[in-house]
């Protein structure tokens, strides 16, 4: 096994070389941060959740099996962390306050402005997807997990993951169009 692979590193952490976790942190914390950011919309909450994940990795390092890929295991933990966070929240979480729009420059180039509007609309649309569809979409499109791994992570069959992806993209497209107000620019 590749000595620097995630799996190997985590096994070393499990077996006592905890400082190896630093490498895993450097490799994964930005992706994890964005995963939580897209789920929660809140930067500081997302940072807390990332911290939480690594804390739990340390705490439960003994339980790491080489059988599951490290990424799958880590996102299992990540989802748990997120769920625990949601439970602590009040139901009406304001979702639209945290995406910080960069302040408009003096003479914004048209292309940059329209691209920014586009990105914000898409983020908003993503926001409005139901949680399960959103998670699966994020794991596939952003965390770049294979469908097989997501199926393992969520404990369901790969067919249902694929059809959820299809439905999620379709729904995302619909919401995105609606936010644009009809046919594009």
């Amino acid at each position: 096994m590749d000595p620097t692979s995630d799996n190997r590193l985590m096994e070393e952490v499990r077996d006592g070389k905890v400082e190896r976790l630093a490498i895993l942190f450097e490799r994964h914390h930005v992706m994890l941060f964005n995963f939580f950011l897209r789920l929660s919309g809140n930067r500081s909450v997302s940072e807390d959740l990332v911290q939480d994940v690594f804390f739990r990795i340390l705490k439960y390092r003994d339980t790491y099996q080489g059988e599951s890929k490290f990424g799958v295991w880590m996102y299992q933990i990540a989802r748990n962390v997120h769920v625990d966070h949601l439970r602590k929240q009040k139901p009406e979480v304001p979702l639209d306050d945290q995406f910080e729009e960069p302040a408009a420059a003096e003479a914004p180039a048209i292309e940059r402005l329209t691209a920014e509007v586009d990105a914000v609309l898409l983020k908003r649309a993503l926001d409005r997807l139901p949680l399960r569809k959103k998670e699966i979409l994020l794991l596939s499109r952003f965390q770049e997990m294979k469908y097989r791994e997501i199926a393992e992570l969520l404990g369901c069959d790969i067919g249902s993951i694929k059809s959820t992806i299809h439905r999620a993209i379709r729904e995302l497209g619909k919401i995105y169009l609606e936010l644009q107000g009809g046919t594009s620019p």
């Binding site: 905890v18 804390f55 993503l126 469908y147 694929k162």
Partner: protein
Amino acid sequence: MNCEKIRERTADYLAGELDEESLAGMRAHLAECPHCREELEGLSVIWTKLGVLPNEEPSAELRSRFYGMLEAYKKGLKKEGQGQGAKRALSIWLGRLMPRKPAFQLGLALILMAAGLGSGFLLSVRPRSAARAEMASLKGEVDGMRRIVAISLLKQASPSERLMGVSWSARIDRPGDEIIAALLQTLNHDPNVNVRLAAADALYLFYDHPEVKEGLIDSLAGQTSPLVQVSLINLLVEIRERRAVEALERLIQNKKLNPKVKKLAELGLVQLS
């Protein structure tokens, strides 16, 4: 391959996971099925756009927090190392919580996930009024951005970009005075006939806005292009604006008026009286 199979393979297609054979089969079907083609293209666009969403950077604090925690943990371990027995007991206990037999582990994971999903699902179904209020505030924010883009586009030298500016203005949910003024300005002073026509159409969508009706009526007197005159006459008749009667009468008096426009104006008068 039929439409059903295309649907099944969409997720793999988007992720670039289709094998040569399936890809070929898909392409063959798409060549003949405009419906699937359209759907797949739409989905591909969204998939690609998602890919372009930028990644954000966490603050520097995150890293220092992590390393702080790692250090603390290492120190704690050293101390615990002195109490070996306790640590072993802890790990065995934890081990029981996360049994090593894969099936069991999966089952436990399922339970955990189900619980997680359950609450997640409930939380995502917001009460209707909250959802609508959210949509409204969302629209407000999008409007704000559209306003900036529209105003900027309307000032460009290229008529195509000014057309885009009119188009963006038309899409604003609640145009403020600034947008209405910009559209009226464009209707009255844009050097290009096409852009003026587009502005008239856009203003039509907002005719319940106070300045618009007055603006459309006033504009008629100043227009020299017969096409724009036709457009305005049609709009004023459509919204049944009786105050336009005077403007139409004055227009008809104009000796230089294109005879077709004159006929239309006369018809308009009849309809408005």
